[in-house]
């Protein structure tokens, strides 16, 4: 654990290292401002000593002291401001650097990672964790640093005035730690109950409000209300307890501070009577007594904050250091206008080593041929797409396009040569037009409209409030599933690469829209090598090659006729059950 933290700290320092100059400035300025701040009470004390009584005021002395004070005040303020500015600069720039790095990483991570990890978790690493890490670490650092300087400085200043009083302060202070620790321990369980109950309530809110329409359809509003109020009352009880007890820390530590203050007051007064210290020095002492305990309270907070910050930093670095996808080979070929002959030779692939999926698979697709992939849902039809687009690499064997292994060409040129429409539609937050031109950012309006017409999406886009400039949200907002898919088709229609990968729609789209979509597909496929995840009988029958998949495996291949002839073949059965009933 320690070593791990050390490793993280080292990486953090690497990032900060770029801003060495600011860091150095910040440290120097912090030291200066703390020491100057601490010097003010001493000067105040001296000034007080010049004001002994009626007719006994040393005006010359006081004037000199006040002049000094003014200069020091201005210097302190300047140092404080500059220090803050430096800290901000470091903190925000480090955050920017880390985020840029993380985002770049995101674009080159293998899809395996993205598929296998919760997106919410990754987002929270890049956004929340980075924020917390910069706040906690950098602010924590400066607080820790100024805190320590303050404590040491105060001690030295106090010792320089009077040793006995200093000892009283030093002995009484730990009391406040003790009390704070005691309270924290006691309240831990109460906070736990509180957060558990809160979690329970959030789950209910999520479930019921998330499905409010069903609740209403069944007149269940009152029952749900009751359920909610029951948890709500429990939460109230738990919260009052947790909040009250944990809020005791402040008054209690303040009480200890007051005790220190009283102690210093009495002792100082006695010493003053004996002439061991002056009234002015007593004043300085009193203000030190007020200040001295504060950094201690802060530091105990800072330590936990630093720990959380380190944990956050650890999470973000873990992400940044994930293994990237294999980079393009140095002499990687650039695939230009491929004819579209695709050969798969002895391809084996599996997502995890224990479960073999595709074994020694061979396939030969001529330029312009159509390949239909069929099989029950969840049989792993996307695996083929994953391999062709090189989202995943084969474990052994090879996939060649026009005779070149796809691992020997640049990913960019490979993917540019494929047009892909997935059933799982994905849209950018932005205008409709921005979404269409993804593959061809410099397309003219005419081209966009022509593509939309070809994809049968023009008519519904036209009817949107602002046509092609309508802004849609990430999840497509008010667009229906079919409309979203038509948009994705338009996107491919605009640049029409030589090879296609198409995922036919299933249940979420009605048959008439589906007909429109398949018309669009047919236009696209003319003369292009195409892979279609097929559901419609007509598509399947017209295909040159049919791949039948089951449980991730390709179990049969051939064309409609040959597969039907296969006695008891999976395809033959599938066909019989689905299309001839």
């Amino acid at each position: 654990m320690k070593n791990q933290n050390k490793g993280i700290l080292k990486k953090v320092l690497n990032y900060i290292g770029k801003y060495k100059f600011f860091l150095l400035c910040s440290i120097v300025l912090a030291a200066i401002s703390v020491i100057l701040t601490l010097y003010i009470p001493i000067l105040t004390g001296r000034a007080v000593d010049c004001i002994v009584g009626a007719g006994a005021v040393d005006f010359d002395g006081i004037l000199r002291i006040l002049k000094q004070m003014t200069i020091i005040i201005l210097l302190t303020a300047a140092a404080q401001w500059l220090m803050n500015a430096c800290n901000n600069k470091i903190a925000y720039q480090v955050v920017r650097d880390v985020r840029d790095e993380a985002f770049k990483k995101l674009e080159i991570l293998p899809l395996k990672y993205i598929d296998g990890h919760s997106h919410g978790d990754i987002v929270s690493r890049i956004i929340a964790d980075v924020d917390q890490f910069s706040d906690g670490l950098l602010m924590g650092f400066t607080q820790l640093f100024t805190g320590v300087v303050t404590i040491v400085g105060t001690l030295l200043f106090m010792l320089s005035i009077n040793v006995t009083t200093t000892i009283v302060v030093v002995i009484l202070t730990p009391l406040s730690f003790f009390i704070a620790g005691f309270i924290a321990k006691r309240t831990f369980n109460m906070s736990k109950v509180q957060s558990e109950t809160r979690g329970e309530q959030t789950a209910l809110i999520d479930e019921m409000i998330g499905n409010e329409k069903v609740v209403k359809a069944f007149n269940h509003e009152d029952a749900v209300r009751e359920q909610f109020d029951e948890i709500n009352l429990r939460l109230e009880k738990a919260s009052v307890k947790a909040i009250f007890f944990s809020s005791l820390t402040n008054p209690c530590t303040r009480f200890v501070n007051s005790l220190v203050y009283a102690g210093v007051g009495i002792l100082g007064a006695f010493l003053a009577i004996r002439g061991r210290i002056s009234v002015g020095q007593l004043t300085s002492f009193l203000s030190y007594a007020n200040q001295y305990t504060k950094p201690f309270n802060e530091i105990s907070g800072v330590v936990t904050e630093l720990q959380t910050a380190l944990a956050c930093a650890g999470r973000i670095f873990e992400f940044i250091e994930e293994e990237s996808q294999v980079p393009d080979a140095e002499n990687a070929a650039v695939l230009t206008n491929p004819k579209g002959t695709i050969t798969m030779e002895n391809v084996s692939f599996s997502y995890n080593p224990e479960q073999k999926l595709i074994r020694n698979f061979n396939l030969e697709v001529q330029s312009g041929q159509r390949v239909a992939i069929v099989g029950p849902t969840g049989c792993g039809k996307t695996t083929v797409i994953n391999l062709l687009m090189r989202f995943y690499d084969v474990n052994s064997g090879s996939i060649k396009i026009d005779g070149t292994d796809i691992r020997d060409m640049t990913r960019k040129s490979l993917r540019d040569s494929f047009g892909m429409v997935l059933q799982d539609t994905w849209l950018h937050a932005g205008t409709i037009r921005e979404n269409i031109v993804m593959g061809k950012p410099d397309a003219t309006d005419e081209e966009v409209i022509a593509a939309a017409k070809a994809a049968h999406s023009h008519s519904f886009i036209k009817r949107l409030p602002k046509g092609y400039d309508t802004v849609i949200t990430e999840d497509g907002g008010s667009l229906s599933q079919g409309q979203k898919q038509l948009l994705c088709i338009t996107r491919v229609m605009l640049c029409l690469p030589p090879m296609l990968i198409l995922d036919e729609a299933t249940s979420s789209i009605d048959t008439r829209t589906e007909i429109r979509i398949s018309k669009a597909f047919n236009t696209m496929m003319k003369g292009r090598t195409s892979f279609i995840v097929a559901h419609r009988l007509s598509t399947i029958r017209e295909a040159d090659i049919i791949l039948v998949m089951k449980d991730g495996n390709i179990i049969e291949q051939g064309n409609h006729e040959t597969l039907l002839k296969k006695e008891n073949g999976f395809y033959a059965n599938l066909y019989a059950s689905q299309f001839t009933a």
């Binding site: 004001i51 007149n219 007051g265």
Partner: protein, 592 residues
């Protein structure tokens, strides 16, 4: 904010006592410098040890009384704040339960969930802080000034100048930086949005090799965030140094004035020390107050958001008729009623529907009648308005033109709960709730006996798989029904609607995850239920509705045809298109 205050009403006592005790604590704090001053002026000057000890004890007593007041205040404020949040949450939840579909559509459930959770929690913290600190800090600031007056009027004038100056600076900087913080938040949201998008769309982005441009866009947005942050940082970084200067310069002036006044014998040395102490107390409180105000603005923003939810009221008025009354009062209360349709289960009388904010009409001139005991199929393309039609029956939405009648009575005249009780609806999305299968089925009818549940399971073709589950009816469904397959969930939602024993059963494309055979069995079993139940089946599969008494073909929000399967197949072009896309001609011919 104002409208939310009523939720703290029940905690009036606590909300008054909490700040009072806080101020009591503050008063004791304010006395400390005076005690110290008298120690200096009497104790030290006269070398009076017993006086010093006495005063020392007074200091400890002040601290102890302060502690007790503070703890009391903490207790009352925790109670008031939590109580407030509890009441508010309950009221908000209740309010949301009362909204109609139209409002739920416009606000969005995600928003509602954040309003209920994080916003209310922020408000709770805000109230807690307000009760404890909002009065305390100004009290100490002005208290210190007044105490200064009791010490020496002329010296106190320095306070009179300093305090407003400080306030102007503190609030000025805050007001200046507040909108900028909003900008920071907006910039951060953009980055967050892009990250999320790039995760969800990783395949598409890579397929279109858009990685480079995405990185460039991200970096640009990130840089913008940095610049805003640094700019805001510069402004708010000025807060501490400037207040520091003002307070300490005031201190210098104070010392000088003090010196002059002491020299002429008007005040004592101890008084000067007391004045200096008051000045530093003010500085400490001001810093606290600045933090408090930042917290408060956040809480206020939350309050506004919560209020905006309360401001939305249901656009749907409740009717008065109960099911019983409707039958007897039929003739007098319903003017729109046509005699011939009196016995019809459902009548759509030239109905149009425009969703609020949705632009064009979604349904146009829908006109049909469903008799008791009839089965109606509705078929049509995505977005053709099938679901919109059935949503009008339980009054999820109100028709904008024309009217919908059930048993001869306008749905708007029914009490909504009465109306929905007659209807069993199975929505498109199969939603189940955390709890046992039994509990889920009881949503349909709380009073259903075990036999009723069993029967419903049989009809919905769910009995078989429920029996294999551990505990049968007591099998616990996980949140969102995650431990059931799509088909299983669908069958349970159908059972839930059947348990209700409804007069009208609506199946909104709710057999999509079932295979053809199960679907057919289900339809058969539903047919065998009580004879006067009307059934409406919405589907995209021609096979599901083929045998209905009447089929309505929807196209682009209009009825493109109505009739039996044979009639439609003979003359309706759209129906033909749909049918043959699913049953290719040669096959049908071969089988026929």
């Amino acid at each position: 904010m104002k409208s939310l205050l009523k939720y703290i009403k029940d905690y009036k006592k606590e909300s008054i006592l909490a700040p009072l005790f806080k101020m009591l604590e503050a008063s004791f704090e304010l006395m400390v410098p005076l005690v110290m001053a008298s120690i200096i002026d009497h104790g030290i000057a006269n070398a009076d040890t017993s006086y010093i000890i006495k005063m020392g004890i007074v200091l400890v007593l002040l601290a102890a009384v302060g502690l007790i007041s503070a703890v009391t205040a903490q207790y009352f404020s925790a109670k008031a704040a939590v109580g407030f949040a509890t009441k508010l949450r309950s009221a908000l939840f209740s309010h949301i339960q009362g909204l109609s579909y139209t409002e739920l559509d416009t606000i969005g459930t995600n928003t509602l969930i954040t309003r209920m959770t994080s916003d209310v929690n922020q408000l709770q913290n805000g109230v807690n802080l307000t009760l404890r600190l909002l009065l305390r800090s100004p009290f100490i600031v002005f208290g210190a000034m007044i105490m200064a007056f009791t010490v020496d009027v002329k010296a106190a004038l320095i306070f009179v100048v300093t305090i407003p100056l400080l306030s102007i600076v503190v609030f000025g900087i805050m007001i200046a930086s507040m909108p900028l913080y909003k900008k920071v938040q907006a910039a951060l949201d953009k980055i967050l949005g892009r990250t999320r998008e790039n995760l969800a769309g990783a395949r598409v982005i890579r397929a279109f090799t858009n990685e480079e441009s995405e990185i460039a866009a991200f970096e640009k947005e990130n840089e913008l965030l940095l610049n805003t942050q640094v700019f805001v940082g510069k402004i708010s970084a000025a807060m501490n140094p400037v207040t520091y200067i003002i307070v300490n310069i005031a201190l210098v002036v104070l010392l000088w004035t003090g010196a002059v006044r002491v020299d002429s014998g008007i005040i004592t040395q101890g008084a000067v020390v007391a004045l200096v102490n008051y000045m530093s107390q003010i500085l400490v409180e001001l810093i606290k107050m600045a933090n408090l105000i930042i917290q408060l603005t956040k809480a206020l923003a939350c309050a506004k958001r919560v209020e905006s939810v309360f401001a939305i009221t249901s656009s749907m008025g409740d009717g008065k008729l109960t099911a019983h009354a409707s039958r007897s009062k039929n003739d007098t209360s319903v003017i729109n009623n046509r005699n011939t349709q009196n016995n019809a289960a459902i009548v759509f009388d030239h109905v149009c529907l425009t969703y609020s904010g949705g632009g064009d009409e979604s349904l146009t001139d829908i006109d049909f009648t469903v008799q008791k005991g009839e089965t109606i199929g509705i078929i049509g393309g995505t977005g053709s308005g099938k679901t919109s039609v059935v949503n009008l029956i339980p009054r999820f939405y109100d028709a904008t033109k024309g009217c919908v009648m059930i048993n001869g009575v306008d749905v708007k005249d029914y009490k909504i709960t009465e109306l929905r009780e007659k209807i069993g609806i199975v929505p498109q999305k199969a939603v189940l709730f955390k709890g046992s299968i039994k509990e889920n089925l009881l949503w349909g009818n709380e009073n259903a006996a075990k036999e009723d549940l069993e029967k419903a399971l049989e009809i919905s073709q769910a009995k078989e798989f429920v029996d294999t589950k551990e505990g049968g009816l007591d099998f616990m469904v996980a949140q969102g029904g995650k431990n059931l397959s799509g088909g299983q969930k669908q069958r349970l939602t159908i059972a839930r609607a059947i348990v209700r024993n409804p007069q009208i059963l609506i199946l909104d494309d709710s057999a999509s995850a079932l295979d053809f055979a199960t679907d057919a069995k289900l339809r058969q079993a539903v047919k065998g239920m009580k004879s006067d139940m009307s059934v409406i089946i919405v589907s995209q599969r021609a096979s599901s509705i083929q045998y209905a008494d009447k089929i309505i073909v929807m196209d682009d929000g209009r009825m493109a045809g109505i009739g039996t399967h044979e009639q439609l197949l003979a003359e309706n072009e759209i129906y033909q298109e749909i049918y043959y896309s699913q049953f290719p001609k040669e096959n049908t011919e071969k089988n026929a």
